[in-house]
Amino acid sequence: MIETSNLTGERIRQYLSDGKRFDGRKLDEFRDISIETGVSKNAEGSAKVKIGKTEVIVGVKMGVGEPYPDSPDKGNMMVTAELLPLSSPRFENGPPKFPAIELGRVIDRGIRESKFIDLDKLCIKKGEKVWTVFIDIYSLNDDGNLLDAAGIGAIAALKTAKMPKYDEKGEKVLYGEWTERKIPVSKETPVAVSIHKIGNNLIVDPTREEEDVSETRVTIGSSEGVISSMQKSGLKELSIEEFKNILDLVEKVERDLIKKIEHQIK
């Protein structure tokens, strides 16, 4: 009852071959994006992102813990994602299923590999105490492309996040009290853009129906034209030609997307 029918899929493919989409967008056009930061005041940073009817909320919290043995002087980061049953009749309660796990991991790598967070600055005492940045993503309404929305939300929440106060003598975080210092992040804004292949066409920002009939997806995390993470998902193969076209398309939409994000995060 909630799957997209074959007939609808057929129509989507027909439209795309004429360069059209159901909602009148061009193939390389995003829906309207709106970003609201500071939406949950107990978080160190937070953001609500809407892309069309798709909506996510992302919050950043800081904790203090032990560093990993292979990076004794670096802070840690952790991304979790929950696809809330509140956000779609398709999602159910229970342990996270693959889509939620993949979402968290793709966003994690996008942020980690772009070196957006300066983890070197999050060391409190080498080998003993470092900050951990928790980035928690929740879907509020799923109308396709939660992934890109989550990526934007994570960046917006991090960019506006403040460091909590830390009691050095008592060696504990004074939760609920903040310093004026921002979480150390780079000036460049990394983004994750997902390209979907439907029939012989490549599109950005799929709606729920379009995502349902997508044959393969490539999500590319990049910043200033440098690609730092990538994930292909789905069963269909890609030709070298198609892969090149995907890279070109990412380059084309990325700059505009970054502009939109930076404009809305104050």
């Binding site: 939406v39 949950s40 005041k41 107990n42 978080a43 160190e44 937070s46 009817k53 909320i57 919050g59 950043v60 919290k61 904790g63 979790t80 929950e82 809330l84 049953p85 509140l86 956000s87 779609s88 009749p89 309660n93 928790f134 928690d136 929740y138 509020l140 309404n141 799923d142 109308d143 939760y175 609920g176």
Partner: protein, 234 residues
């Protein structure tokens, strides 16, 4: 009663925080709503009535109202691990009990209505905000009901009764400390939910219930207004 008693945020004892309510916040849901008391913000979404899975939990005598209360990990200053906890499991059940008396669940044998409640930002009274959002979401989804319910926390700080506790008040330590009494009432004034943590005499408890009656009437007006603005979902 001490004459010098002052609430941390300067409210009068029987004064609610600014409340706001909005219907239709989750486009995918059959019904949805947001409700807030000051800095406490809850959203609720309803899916159903729909087929009840797993099958063995079906009730052939009446439908099932299934609530799920959850706090987002970053809704409180000290991050909570995502996922269910003992606390959230209990509040989910309490919420079902608070709502079901007014929901005409008999109309839906073998079916289930899911109510998902999430706390986006917490400053105490989260279960009350959740219940207030949930009943609005149910109304928005067009589920027939006999009445609305409205929920509020009444507190006793030292010896003084107050309406709608904040986190700061919940942690009150002076004198007799804090007693927290979340209460849910129908518009007719019947109690569908009451809990209590702390200590209080029977006389004062009766006063607390009266205070809740007054506060829930105010909340009811805000809920009704928000529902009227939107009407049922198409």
């Amino acid at each position: 009663m001490t004459k010098t008693f002052k609430r941390p945020d300067g409210r009068k004892p029987d004064e609610l925080r600014p409340i706001s309510a909005k219907v239709g916040v989750i486009p995918n849901a059959d019904g949805s709503a947001m409700f807030s008391f000051g800095n406490t913000v809850a959203i609720a979404a309803v899916y159903g009535p729909k087929e009840h899975h797993p099958r063995n939990q079906r009730n052939s005598a009446k439908g099932t109202l299934r609530c799920n209360y959850n706090m987002l990990s970053f809704s409180v200053t000290d991050r909570i691990r995502p996922g269910p906890s003992r606390r959230s499991t209990e509040i989910s059940k309490i919420t079902e009990w608070a709502l079901e008396p007014v929901v005409m669940i008999d109309n839906y044998p073998n079916r289930v209505i899911d109510v998902h409640i999430h706390i986006l930002q917490a400053d105490a009274s989260t279960r009350c905000a959740g219940i207030n959002a949930a009943i609005m979401a149910l109304a928005h989804a067009g589920i027939p009901m006999k009445d609305l319910v409205s929920s509020v926390s009444i507190g006793k700080l030292d010896k003084q009764l107050v309406t709608d506790l904040t986190k700061k008040e919940e942690d009150w330590e002076e004198g007799e400390g804090a007693t927290d009494i979340p209460i849910t009432m129908t518009h007719e004034g019947k109690i569908t939910h009451i809990q209590l943590d702390g200590k209080i005499g029977t006389k004062q408890l009766n006063e607390a219930v009266e205070l809740a009656g007054k506060a829930t009437k105010k909340i009811y007006e805000v809920q009704k207004k928000a529902l009227k603005e939107v009407g049922g979902k198409e």
